[in-house]
Symmetry: D2
Subunit: 489 residues, 4 copies
C-alpha cells in the first residue's frame, strides 16, 4: 500500500553443504525487501551456476531446482525494480567470468555515480548487458590488477559512490562490504562453522544462524573456505548421512577497514518501514523502535478518542505503542487481505471503487460511531491515506485522527529507494494543516526528526534523514533533479 | 499452522452486470475458508459457463477469464479438500443440466447421510462424477417433481441431513439455504439492486454490498431476475458506459421457512478460528468476540508476566484482549512470514529443524529473559504448540504461560471440518496438566465452555460445541468412529 | 489444412502392469485423430483415477503423472471438439460411479439420437455434466438392470443410434463395441497376455502389440482379468524387476454379436484422409489404398506435365501413386512447417497474407516454369485449394492441374465428423468445371465413387459415402438440416 | 533421430514497421536449425528490447509479446545448445550496451579461437556473462576504435577464426558477415523496401521477401535506415492503417569485402541434412541436390529389390531420387510420429524397447516379405540405423539394403556442429563391411566424396568435407582432440 519501496535483500552462505537451500530460506525471510525478481548463484568448484526469475522466491524456485544445486557456497538476491521495466536481465546476482575466475555480485543500494562509471568503462571498451549497479562493480573488479578479490573490491569501492551493501561470491568463498556511510544494513551470522551474510537479522534467524555482528561502514569482510571443500558439490546421500558437513571444513573470516567511515547515515526508513519487525539493526529491535515511536507520538499528539488502529502490517507496532501510552484500546480496525499478490486482477472501470476495499476492510461494528486514532508510518503521496480515511468514515467513524510515526516526507531519495519526485510529495510544498485537509483527517500529527533521533540515535551512530530534511550524506548534485526541486516533465 | 480446517466459502451474485467479476472479488475475501480449489459458474442466458481450477483464486483466474465472462448471475466457491485427493473433478460449483435447465450448486458443509443417499440414488439409476455433496443435492433436485427450483430444493432438503449452507444458480436467478441447525454461516447483501450471497459478511464488504441479514436456519431464499435481463450477457462497452447496469432490472427476493429450526448449532469455531475478524456473525463481530474471549481468559487464568503475545494471525485479537484486561504489554512476540504458500518447499532432512522457524520467528530482543503469556485459539494435536513454545524458549523466554481462548478440543467434527481422529487429540485422553507437560508450558489455562456461551450465547441462539463436549446436534451414529472413540488402525 | 476433422481416438489396455503408460504411448500414435483434449483413466482396485486436460497428449501428461498411475487397466482418449467450446468438462473418457461400480467411457463417433435420449433421461431424473455422448451411454448403462456390464452395454446399444466405437473401463476389465454399421474403426491387439483396444492398428504398433482382429459391427467384446490382479497397483520396483508382469495373470476375451450387422458403412474418409498411413483397416493398408487411388486417378485424369506433387502430409501417398502410374517425377513441391501448432500466433492485419505461406512453402526452383500436377485428397470448402494453387503460381508454375483422390464432397456428415454445412461446400451446387474455375486450376479431375468402391470394396464389406452421394446409412431426418440442404442462418 | 545437430538459425529485419513479428515468422521457418532456445531483440529508438527463452519459438513468444514489440529493426535467433547445459544465459541474440550504443549479436557457427580470445579479453579486464561466441564478438567490437559499427566488426573479424555467420543489430540498422571460408549459409532478401537477413532462403519465403543474394564469404553487409525512422516504434493503429510503413523510409545496403575469401568451405551437411529442402544454397535447391544424390546412389549401389523407402524426413528426397533412377517403387515404409517433441516422456525400463517404435512405425503390410532399399542421409553413431533395420526386419522385410547419400562419417566437426567424438564414430575405425555387419544390413553402399563434389561442386565453389576426409579448412590444432584421434576419457 505504501508508495515507497526498498530495493533489495541479499543473502549468502559459505561453508555449508546445502548452501543454495539455505539461501532459498534466507531469501524467503527477506522477501519483503523485493518481490519482483529472485535469484540464487551457487559455486560448484571453480564455476558458478545460477537460477534467476521474475516473481517471488516461491515462483522462481522449484524443489527440483534446489535438488540440482548441491554446493557449499551460494549467494541470493531479491529485488524491487526501481526505474526500469521488470526484466530477467536485471535480476541479481550478476554472475560473470573474469580473469579472477567466476564471481557473482549482489547489491542492495544505489550508486550515485553509476552513469559516470559506465561511461568511463564503456570508453575503456567494456560492454554492459544489464542496467544493474552490480555489473559496474564487477567491471571495476575485473579492471583491477589487485591480486585477490578482496583487494580488487577495495579498489572498486574507491571508485564508487552512493549507498551499497554488497555481497560477492568468489572462487575462494565470499566477500561483503558496506559503503562508508553505512546507508543499508548488512549483518553476519554463523551456523555449524559456516558463515552467513544477510541484509537483515531475520534472514539469519530463518536458517538458525547466530548473529555475529554487522558489517561496519567502510569495511570489507572476506570469508574463505579451505581448499578441498571447494572442489566438488556434495552428494545428497552424503548430506543426509551427515558426512558431507564435515568435509566443508572450517571457514576463515578476515576483515579490513578499507575506507574511513564517513558521516553515519543508515537509512532511517529501515526502522520506520522497510525492515521486518523481528530484525535487529545496530542492536535495536525494529518492532521495539516502532513501538517506542508510537509511544512518543502518543505523548506528542494526544487526542480524545475511543480506539487506536494501525494500517496493517507496517504500522501495527507503532499503533500498539500509541495505544499503550495513551491508555486507549488497541483495535484491529482494518483487516488486510492476505491473498492479494502480483496476479491480483484490479477491477476495471465500473468496479474501480472496490480496489482499496478488497485489500483493506474496515471493521464496521468496531468503528461505527467511534473516534478513531489511525496510526501510520508515513505519508508519501497521500492518496492511500485519503482512501483509508474514507474507508473508516464510510464504516461510520465519527472522527479520524491521523498520527504519523515519522516526520513529513519532503525530499526524494537518491540511494536506491523508489520514491515519487518532489512534485508528487505533498509535504514538499504543503504545511501540516494543508496535508490534513487534503487527506481528510480531523487532526494530523507527525513526529519530529528530533524524536526519531532521540529514540534511534542512542544506538545508531547516525542516520540518513534526507527524505525529511534534504540533507543528503552523499553528494547527489550530478543527478538530475537532485536539489529536491521537481524534475518532472 | 492450525491442524483443523474449514471446508469452503460460497459467494453468489444475481442481477449485477459484472456478476463473475464480483464473485472473483468476493472469493478473494473468502479465500481463508479454502485454498485448494476455486471456481466460478456464470449464467449466460439459459446456459451456465464455468471455470474451475486447483489453487488460490489468484492462481485459477486470469484477467482474460474475467473479460470472457459477461453475465448477470454467477456463483463462486473456494474449497478446502477434506478426505480426498485434491482433484479438479471435486472443485465446486458443480454445474449440471437437468430437466429444470442448467443449475450450478455450491456448498459449505458436510452431509452425514451422503453415502446412504448416493447408494439410494445409484440404485435408482443415477451416476456420479464427483464425490461432492453438491452433486447429491443436484441429483435430488433432478428427481423432484416440484415445479420450481425452490420447491425442488425444499424437497431435496427434506432428504439430506448434516451441516450445509447451499447456494444454487438457477435459470431464474439463485437460491440459498441453510440447514435447520444453522451449522455454517450464510448471509445476504445488496448492491445497486443486485443481491449477493456470501459465507461471511467480509465477502459483502469486499464488493461494497450492504448486509441485509443472515439466511435463517431451515430457510430457503430465492432471488429471481426479471425476464429480459436473463437473455444475454452485457457488452463490456455497455458496462463501461453504465447503460448495462440499468438493464439488469430489479431482482425479487422471496423466502420460505421450509424446515422448523432445530436446536441451533452454529459452529463455534467460526468465532474461535475460521471466520475473518472483520466478519459479523449473528450480529456479533468476530474480532470483538475474540477480544472478549481474551479478556475472559485473562480473568480466568491470571499470571505474573512481562508481556502477552499471540500466534499470528488467528489469536491476535484474543491476545490483545488478554493484554488489555491483564494490564500487560501486548507485543509482537512472533513474526509470521507472509510469503509462505502452497509452493513453499519444505526443508529436507538436514535442514528439517528449520521448518517452523521459517514460518514463525520469535523476537529474541523482546522475549529474552521475559515471562511470556502466549495466547492461542486452540490446541488440536499439540505439536504446533510444542514447537512454538520451543521457539520462545530458544529465544530466551524465562517462562511461557499458555492461555487458550477455547475449551480443550476433545472430539472430532463430522460436519465438514477436517479434524484429526480422536486418538490424535491429546485432550481426548489427557487432563490439562498432562497436556501442559506435553507441550512444555509453564502453565496452561483453557476457557470453559460456559465462558464461550456467556460471550457468544447472548446473540447466537445456540451453537455446536461437539468438538468440546461430544454433543453432536445431528445424529452421526452411522459414521464409523462417531462415538468419539478412536477409529484409527 | 483440411477443413474436415475426425472426432476422436480411443485406446485401452487390460492386464498390463503399466496400463496408463501404455495408453500414453497409444494416444501419441492416435494423436492425429484429435488434438484438442486428451485423457487417461486408470483402474486402481475398484476405483478409477483420471487425468484429463486441454491440448495434446504431450501437453496434458507429465512424467510425474505417469509415475503416479500404476495399475493394470486403463483407457485413454484424444478428442477433436466438434460443435462446442473446447472445455475440460467434455474431455473424455467420462468417469462415473454407478451401482455397477466405477466405469469410464470413451467414444469415437456421434449419436444421431443423443438429444432425444438426453431429454428422456432428464425426464427420468438424470443430470448431465457434459455434452458428451459418452455420458449418455453411461446413463443408459446405469439405468439398465442387467447383471453385468456387457449386458448393460448391450441394453444401452439397443437404445442409441448413430456412429460409435466405444471403449469402457469396468471393474472387471474393459468392454468395447462398434455400431452395427461399423462406421468407425476399432481393433484389438495383444501383448504379453494383456489385451489392447485401439481406434487404429498404428496404436497397437506403438506399444508393440500384435493385431488380433477388428471389433465387428454390432459386436461387444469383453475383456476380464482374474481377481487378484485387480486388487492393487504394482510398485515401480516390482515392474522393473519383471515380477509384476506375472502378477497380472491371464485375461479372458469374450465376445457377443449383440446386434445384427446392418448395411456396412465404414467411413470412407478413414481411407482417404483420417487414418494414419501405417494403419490397416479391414486388412487394407491405408497408405496402399491411397497409392492405389492415386494410380487410378492417373489413369482417369492423365495430363501432360513435368512433375507431380502432393499436399503434405495427407495426399503424399496418392501423389506418389499418381506419379508412378503416370511415369512422371514425384517431387516435393510444397514443404510443410513441422513446428506450427496450437500456440502459433497467426499474423495480424498487415501481414495476413503470410498465413498460408508460413505453413506451406512452394519449392520455387523446382516449380518455376513447370507444368505441375497437384494431387490432393479432397476439396471441401475450396479455399485451401485456391491458396495452394496461388502459391504454386506465385512460385512460377506454368500450369497447375489438380487431381483429387476422392469424389466431389457434396453432403455434410452427421456421424461425428466436423464438416461445413452444405452451403459452404462448392460441390453441393457447382459442377466440376465451375469448381475448377473457382479454385483457379488449369484442369480438375476427381475420382468417381465407383473408383473408390473398386479399390476399397473388395475387402471392406461396405462403406459410408454419404458425403459424396447423400445416402446416409443411419436415419438423420430428425437432425435439423439433415436433408443436405443448407441449414445456415 | 540423427545424432548430429546444427547450431543455430539467425534472422533479421531492417526497415519494416513490424520487424519483431517478421522475425517471429522467420524463426518459425528456421526452427529446424535449433530447438533449444529462441530470442528476438528489437530496436526501439537507440535502445534494444529483448525477449529470450528456453524452447521452441512457439513456446517462447506469446501474442502479447509481439504486440508489445513495435519497432522497425529486429534480430532473432534459434539455438541448438552444443556443449553446455541449456541455460537462458546462453540464449541469443546477446544484447549489449557499449560506447557505440546498443548492439545485439546473433551467430551461427563456432569460433576455433574463442578460448584464446576470451583469455586475452579477460586479461584486458573484460567480463563475460555467457559462454556464447557472440559475446566475444561484442567485446571485440567494443574494444575497436573504429568509428562505425561496420568497421568495428571488420576489426573484430580480423581477430576471430572459425565458422561464423553473424547478424548484428546496430543503432543504425544491422550488419551481417560470413567467415572467409563461407562455412555457414547466410542470405539477404528484400520486401517493401525493408531488408531481411536469414540463415536460409526458406526464412525469406516465410515472410514473403524476395531473395537478393547470399552474403559472400569474407563480406560485411551493412543495412542502414534513414534517421527519422529510428526515433520511435510505430503504433499499432498506424501500422494497421498502412501509414506507418511509409515512415520507415528507404534502407541503404552497403557492402565491403573485408577479407580475401579463403578456400571455400560451405558445410556440405547443409545439403545432406541440415537445411530445409525448400531452401536454396548457392543457387542450388536442397531438395534437388538430395534427389540427385539419391539418383547417383542408385547408379553406384544398384540392387535387386521390391521397393525403396527413406527415413523421414531428412532422406525422403534422396530416397525418391534413388527410386526413380532404379525404377523401383518409392514407398512410405516408415511413418514418423509428428507429435513427438521436447515434452515426450521416454518409456522407462520395462517399456524401453518401445522408444524407437513410437517415433517411427514400419508399414508391415507393405514391407512383409519384401526386399527393401533403405536410403538414409548418413550414419553417424550407427545405433539409429541398427534400430531402424531391426524395425524393418521385425515387420517382415526379407532383405534390407542400406544406401547412404553421403560418404562414411569419420571425423568430428569443430565448427559448431555437435558431433560425437571420433571413438563413437564407427566409420573412424571400421571399413564398410564391418559397419554393414554392425548395423545388420544385407548390403551397405555409401556415396564417395567425389560424387558429392560432382553434384554440388558445379555451383558451390568449395565445401567443407572434413567430417568425411579430416581436411579441416580452419586450423583446429589447438582444440583438444582435433587430430581426429579419440579424446574421450
Amino acid at each position: 500500500m505504501n508508495s515507497i519501496h526498498d530495493q533489495c535483500g541479499i543473502f549468502a552462505v559459505v561453508g555449508h553443504p546445502r548452501a543454495a537451500e539455505m539461501c532459498y530460506y534466507g531469501l524467503y525471510a527477506l522477501q519483503h525487501r523485493g518481490q519482483e525478481s529472485a535469484g540464487i548463484a551457487l559455486g560448484q568448484g571453480p564455476k558458478i551456476k545460477s537460477k534467476k526469475g521474475i516473481g517471488l522466491v516461491s515462483d522462481v524456485f522449484t524443489g527440483e531446482d534446489l535438488r540440482r544445486m548441491p554446493g557449499n557456497r551460494a549467494i541470493g538476491h531479491v529485488r524491487y525494480a526501481v526505474d526500469e521495466e521488470i526484466t530477467i536481465e536485471n535480476a541479481q546476482p550478476i554472475t560473470v567470468k573474469m580473469w579472477r575466475g567466476w564471481l557473482s555480485v549482489a547489491n542492495n543500494g544505489s550508486l550515485v555515480n553509476a552513469h559516470e562509471l559506465r561511461d568511463l568503462l564503456e570508453q575503456g571498451g567494456s560492454i554492459f548487458q544489464t542496467t544493474s549497479d552490480s555489473e559496474v562493480v564487477a567491471h571495476l573488479m575485473a579492471r583491477s590488477k589487485a591480486p585477490d578479490t578482496a583487494s580488487a573490491l577495495e579498489e572498486a569501492l574507491g571508485q564508487i559512490k552512493g549507498a551499497y551493501s554488497l555481497g560477492i561470491l568468489t572462487p575462494q568463498g565470499a566477500v561483503a562490504a558496506r559503503d562508508p556511510h553505512g546507508c543499508r544494513p548488512l549483518c553476519i551470522g554463523q551456523i555449524d562453522g559456516a558463515y552467513v551474510i544477510s541484509s537483515e537479522t531475520c534472514g539469519l534467524d530463518a536458517v538458525g544462524a547466530q548473529v555475529i555482528r554487522e558489517v561496519s561502514p567502510g569495511e570489507i569482510v572476506s570469508i574463505t573456505m579451505d581448499g578441498p571443500s571447494l572442489k566438488t558439490g556434495h552428494s545428497v546421500e552424503a548430506l543426509a548421512s551427515g558426512t558431507a558437513r564435515r568435509v566443508s571444513g572450517p571457514c576463515r573470516l578476515q576483515t579490513k577497514q578499507v575506507m574511513e567511515p564517513l558521516r553515519q547515515s543508515l537509512c532511517v526508513f529501515e526502522f520506520i518501514y522497510f525492515a521486518r519487525p523481528d530484525s535487529d539493526i545496530s542492536g535495536l529491535n525494529v518492532h521495539a523502535v516502532r513501538k517506542a515511536l508510537g509511544r512518543k507520538l502518543a505523548r506528542k499528539g494526544p487526542v480524545e478518542a475511543d480506539l487506536v488502529t494501525g494500517v496493517p502490517d507496517s504500522s501495527l507496532s507503532a499503533a500498539a505503542g500509541f495505544a499503550e501510552e495513551a491508555g486507549l484500546p488497541y483495535e484491529m480496525g482494518l483487516v488486510k487481505n492476505r491473498y492479494i499478490g502480483r496476479t491480483f486482477i484490479a477491477p476495471e472501470q465500473a468496479l474501480r471503487e472496490l480496489a482499496v476495499r478488497i485489500k483493506l476492510n474496515p471493521l464496521r461494528s468496531l468503528i461505527e460511531g467511534k473516534r478513531v486514532v489511525l496510526v501510520d508510518d508515513s505519508i508519501v503521496r497521500g492518496t492511500t491515506s485519503r482512501h483509508i480515511i474514507g474507508l473508516l468514515r464510510s464504516a461510520g467513524a465519527k472522527e479520524v485522527h491521523v498520527r504519523i510515526s515519522s516526520p513529513p516526507y519532503r525530499f526524494p531519495c537518491y540511494y536506491g529507494i523508489d520514491t515519487p519526485s518532489a512534485c508528487e510529495l505533498p509535504a514538499a510544498t504543503l504545511d501540516v494543516e494543508a496535508i490534513r485537509e487534503r487527506i481528510g483527517a480531523d487532526s494530523l500529527v507527525y513526529l519530529d526528526l528530533q524524536d526519531l533521533k532521540d529514540i534511534v540515535g542512542a544506538r545508531v551512530p547516525g542516520f540518513c534523514s534526507s527524505c525529511f530534511d534534504g540533507d543528503y550524506p552523499v553528494d547527489v548534485s550530478g543527478m538530475g533533479n537532485a536539489d529536491g526541486r521537481c524534475g518532472c516533465r
